[in-house]
């Protein structure tokens, strides 16, 4: 679906990512994890051409993103950004409708079909009851769901989530991840989650990418990637990955921090 080839990115002279190679498969939930400042948000921005790599390229179904217009990219890839402070009093419906922008011509209004897609996106994220409320009167968690609805209204093949659990109450964290996981299983949506919240995200990922020292440290299914050694190196924790019968999913058991490291 998305392929990253020999990608390097520098901010001014400081290297942020080096020689990243990565294949994101259609319909999978893939987590990009690492400590704060490791370059994972930068990687997310490169996947969407909000930043341009100095070396290497990102391919969407074989086409280099650099050769595509932002509008065309937005028809395939939707993003749920980390911060969503909005100070103007747009209604929730206004915001979700913006998800149809990449499909509409300059003076073209939303069609009945567009409205239906918008309604459906709001139903899925449980925000239909807020449809007429002003976005700047809502809580962080509610806003997050509005932005996810907007992303769904783009009818994307790939959805990129930047720290989706960061400002959310614990129940909403699950709600959001359950929703995208379900969309991936039922409709083949490709989900890329950038996060530092290892215990939370591990429960949803088919595969994981660990970023360490600006490079891909490991990539693969959680069982292969989350070895004790890797978790020590990347996160500075003593932890083990177990399969939890009660949850029916992988689970990271954190034993403690690594003494004497860093």
């Amino acid at each position: 679906m998305l392929a990253v080839k020999d990608l390097s990115f520098k901010y001014k002279e400081r290297p942020v990512l080096e020689d990243v190679d990565l294949e994101i498969r259609r319909g999978e939930v893939i987590g990009i994890l690492g400590p704060n400042g490791c370059g994972k948000t930068t990687l997310l921005k490169l996947l969407n051409r909000n930043l341009h790599p100095q070396e290497g390229k990102v391919l969407l179904e074989g086409t280099d993103l650099e050769g595509m217009s932002k509008r065309r990219i937005a028809r395939h890839i939707a993003v749920v950004p980390q911060s969503n402070e909005i100070r103007f009093a747009f209604t929730v419906r206004d915001i979700v409708s913006m998800g149809r922008m990449p499909f509409l011509d300059r003076f073209q209004g939303e069609s009945a079909e567009d409205m239906r897609i918008v309604d459906e996106a709001m139903e899925r994220t449980n925000i239909k009851e807020f449809a007429d409320r002003a976005i700047n009167t809502m809580s962080g968690g509610e806003r997050q769901r509005v932005i996810i609805a907007r992303a769904l209204a783009q009818r994307p093949e790939v959805i990129l989530l930047d720290e989706p659990t960061l400002h959310l109450d614990i129940n909403h964290q699950f709600e959001v991840l359950d929703l995208v996981h379900e969309l991936s299983r039922k409709e083949g949506l490709t989900v890329v989650i950038v996060s530092h919240d290892l215990p939370m995200v591990v429960r949803y990922c088919d595969r994981m990418v660990l970023i360490h020292d600006h490079r891909v440290h490991a990539i693969g299914p959680p069982e292969e990637v989350l070895t004790r050694e890797n978790m020590r190196t990347v996160f500075n924790i003593e932890a083990v990955l177990t399969y939890d019968e009660m949850l029916g999913s992988n689970c990271v058991k954190i034993l403690g921090s690594c003494p004497g490291r860093r």
């Binding site: 969407n48 909000n50 217009s69 932002k70 509008r71 065309r72 990219i73 937005a74 028809r75 939707a78 993003v79 950004p81 911060s83 969503n84 402070e85 909005i86 100070r87 103007f88 009093a89 747009f90 209604t91 206004d94 915001i95 913006m98 998800g99 922008m101 990449p102 509409l104 300059r106 003076f107 007429d132 409320r133 002003a134 700047n136 009167t137 783009q154």
Partner: protein, 341 residues
């Protein structure tokens, strides 16, 4: 109860009221003469009926002024709305950000010095535009901190640069000697010298600028959420922003070059409209065109009737006298609705 939906539902009524206001005050303003016409007389003369004298008063004496007021008001109104959206900052306007001062410096230079290779009538707007663009980029550059443009620095930069440029205009005025009176009168805003030739220059600039703005209103909506949001939704943010800023500067410069500095239209009009009908630029921008025209029409009418013994007040004084107190009221009372919190 949330007012967002209510505001949206109000949109058709707002447009109707704006049309009505514009029409009524247009006719009232047209009726102003040494011996004022009645509303009815002015209306019929506008349609080409009534007495010869009335038709001359309306068509030859007053219509150029009224047309110019409409164009300039509309241009400043929409430019204000666009700048507030582009900077994601409800305080932005051509006047507050020093653009008007920038344009007036260019125009004052054009008024003071003449060149042989270009008629003054074209030189003034050209210099106003160049100087206006330069001011815009200077203020933006000063207030840009790592890609963000915080309200405080934007305002302070606008005020500082604006003051500097105003001082330069004053200096020019002082040095200009016998042309001084003309420049002084012009810095207070002045519609009385509007001619059809001037309108012929202003109108295409206003129309072109406004078209660029209105046609980008959907992108502008996305940009109001933040650059990252807009990029994610497929907007080429840098290109659209540059287009919109150039269009705003063009419109401001055209207005300032021919009628002088008229403040507060671009600030007050979009604010009132945003409170009434919400922030959706697809509605707000056309409404700001209408509202700006209506506001300036009302101010021009007031400037003519308020002090009959003194004569006609410069319109810039009237817009500030009405605009500034209203703006202070907004600052105190309606913070959330206009996006200040």
């Amino acid at each position: 109860m949330d007012g967002a939906a209510k505001r949206k539902g109000r949109t058709p009524a707002v447009f109707a009221v704006l049309f009505l206001l514009l029409f009524v005050f247009m006719v009232l303003d047209l009726a102003q003469a040494f011996v004022p016409l009645t509303f009815g007389e002015a209306f019929w003369a506008l349609l080409g009926k009534g007495t010869e004298t009335h038709r001359i008063i309306i068509w030859e004496m007053n219509l150029p002024r009224v047309t110019m007021a409409c164009l300039v008001g509309a241009g400043l109104g929409i430019a204000g709305a666009v700048m507030q959206a582009v900077f994601r900052n409800p305080m932005a306007s051509p006047y507050i950000l020093g653009l008007s001062s920038g344009a007036s410096l260019g125009a004052a230079v054009g008024l003071t010095f003449t060149v042989t290779w270009l008629p003054q009538m074209l030189m003034i707007p050209l210099l106003a535009f160049v100087s206006c663009m330069a001011t815009l980029f200077l203020v933006y550059y000063i207030s840009n901190i790592g890609g963000r443009v915080p309200t405080e620095t934007l305002l302070l930069a606008g005020i500082a640069v604006g003051s500097l440029l105003s001082a330069l205009v004053s200096l020019l005025t002082y040095l200009a000697g016998e042309q001084m009176e003309g420049i002084v009168y012009w810095t207070m805003g002045n519609l009385t010298n509007a001619t059809w030739e001037n309108i012929l220059i202003v109108a295409p600039l206003m129309v072109a600028g406004s078209l660029v703005m209105v046609s980008s209103s959907r992108e502008l909506n996305a940009m109001m959420l933040g650059d990252a949001h807009a990029l994610d939704l497929g907007v080429e943010v840098k290109r659209v922003r540059l287009q919109l800023l150039v269009a705003s500067a063009l419109v401001t410069a055209a207005a300032v070059a021919f009628v002088g500095v008229i403040g507060f239209v671009g600030l007050v009009v979009p604010h009132i409209l945003r409170i009434l009908m919400g922030p959706d630029n697809r509605m707000l921008l056309p409404a700001s065109l209408l509202g700006g025209a209506a506001f300036l029409m009302i101010c021009d009418y007031i400037s003519r009737v308020i002090a009959p013994n003194i004569g006609i007040l410069p319109i810039g004084i009237v817009t500030a006298l009405i605009g500034a107190p209203y703006f202070i009221y907004l600052l105190r009372r309606r913070r959330t609705e206009v996006g200040w919190d």
